[in-house]
Symmetry: C2
Subunit: 333 residues, 2 copies
Amino acid sequence: MTKALIIGGGGMLGQGLAKALAAKGALAGSALSGVTLFDIAESAIPSGLPGASALTGDLSRPDAACRLIADRPDVIFHLAAIVSGEAERDFDKGYRINLDGTRYLFDAIREENARSGYCPRVVFTSSLAVFGTPLPDVIGDDQVLTPMSSYGAQKAMGELLLADYSRRGFMDGIGIRLPTICIRPGKPNAAASGFFSNILREPLAGEPAVLPVSRDVRHWFASPRAAVGFLAHAAEVDTGAIGGRRNITMPGISVTVAEQIDALREIAGEDAVALIKEKPDAAIEAIISTWPKAFDAQRALALGFVPDRSMQDLISVYLEDHAPEAVRARWQR
Amino acid sequence: MTKALIIGGGGMLGQGLAKALAAKGALAGSALSGVTLFDIAESAIPSGLPGASALTGDLSRPDAACRLIADRPDVIFHLAAIVSGEAERDFDKGYRINLDGTRYLFDAIREENARSGYCPRVVFTSSLAVFGTPLPDVIGDDQVLTPMSSYGAQKAMGELLLADYSRRGFMDGIGIRLPTICIRPGKPNAAASGFFSNILREPLAGEPAVLPVSRDVRHWFASPRAAVGFLAHAAEVDTGAIGGRRNITMPGISVTVAEQIDALREIAGEDAVALIKEKPDAAIEAIISTWPKAFDAQRALALGFVPDRSMQDLISVYLEDHAPEAVRARWQR
């Protein structure tokens, strides 16, 4: 019987993972006996999740992690983070949650390891933000980490902690660097990366969207479904095959904005494409120009992580998993 | 007028730096008006050091750094660390000093920055221990950091903090990854790297030394004098030329044990070489096999960091700067 803990269980990926676990009913080769969703606010519990409970708390308080580890979950997904923009605006909060919170969690595991030999699988979500310019067009698995944001620095430090605590035998960690999620469900947001989803999601709903960069901008994506698949696979993969380098860039698809728009046209036609308004924004263009364009994610592929197949898939996943019913009914084939 | 603070002022490099500053009398283009040596025990103060004082304290206590920063030193050398072997034996102590201590220092600077715009040059000593296998024979400036010790992980995290705090404008930091110091003065020690110095220093004094690895082992070295030169140059180099990548591998010389022994023979003859006893130690050989052999330290050279010229230089520096008088008199030409 496997007990799982999802820290950040209320977020998009946490909820997607919880639904996937409810559907699977098992993890790491045995039936799920309990799943705890932990977040700052109470997480929704998807139907059919075995032994589910929702806990609230603040991971940046040292006692929060101890309370979670007292239950000795077999698999811990650590998805909680202050996102990039907020970590840049609020320096203290970013370090408090993203670095201290992660370390409190790992230390609570280490203390239980010292008491009882407890050694859970820990799946940590890292980010492409650990990379910084100059970057090659296609980034290999041995790219040096030079974050250009506090968020990226905090994630890179989390990766180092995860590798060291795993090397010491306190836990069995794996860090996965997720591609940018597309199509992100919900409302348009003001994040610099928001337009990558907005220009697809909004026109599918008959709404206008703004494209602030040129159509030859290229970036690296995964659908929410693929990302949830990475998390579940990371909980089950044989870490003996990983060696000391416990942090792995996930596979994705590398597409240009033009290719995004072509896929939208194919599924929703020229009228949908016409809803995209080009409004060049030099500030956003400058930010995006420093971001990765593509990876050669050989290690992840060799370990069995499965990427999306195409840009069309990214739209289909949105229609199947996330779109409002009216939008789904209109376009689904 | 420049005020300098040396954290770890009592150690080999701190003392060497203090002597060099006493001889220079100036730093970063203006006369030295005060130099504070901080360490866990009281540091010796070399003669002629302007406005010198020695303070004691524990950097892993949050208030220690605040006290040091209250004086607003223009240049801060952060050399204090729990060394590799001890950080591996005492996990908590290593993280407390090497990670928390570094962060307390940087946060004390950040707080003074917020109050007054204070923005000192901070020179942080990092280590080759940030690198881990597999490594190429010659390591470039873009090698990925994959530490294989807690000490290496802590130094890599210190590098990330330094880069982020500098990018945010809280301080003007530069991290320098020092080569292995050779010849390390003093007594033989049991560190895995100790033999690289022991097999030279001890025979020069007419004492036997043990060589636990084969003669074709290759490694990367700097003399204490070159390392002190790196520190002083790092205090003065134009960080505008460095860009976002604030952590730099220092130049050194790549020599084999056989080449070390050849240099010893050249200076001290066959009788000295005969004092080296080969006692293969599989455990030490295994540790050393994971260490860097050579670097192509282009960035450091372009920034004006000056390495030693030869293995013979490393022996000469020892005789001139560190050897007991009788040893110096016997071999110096």
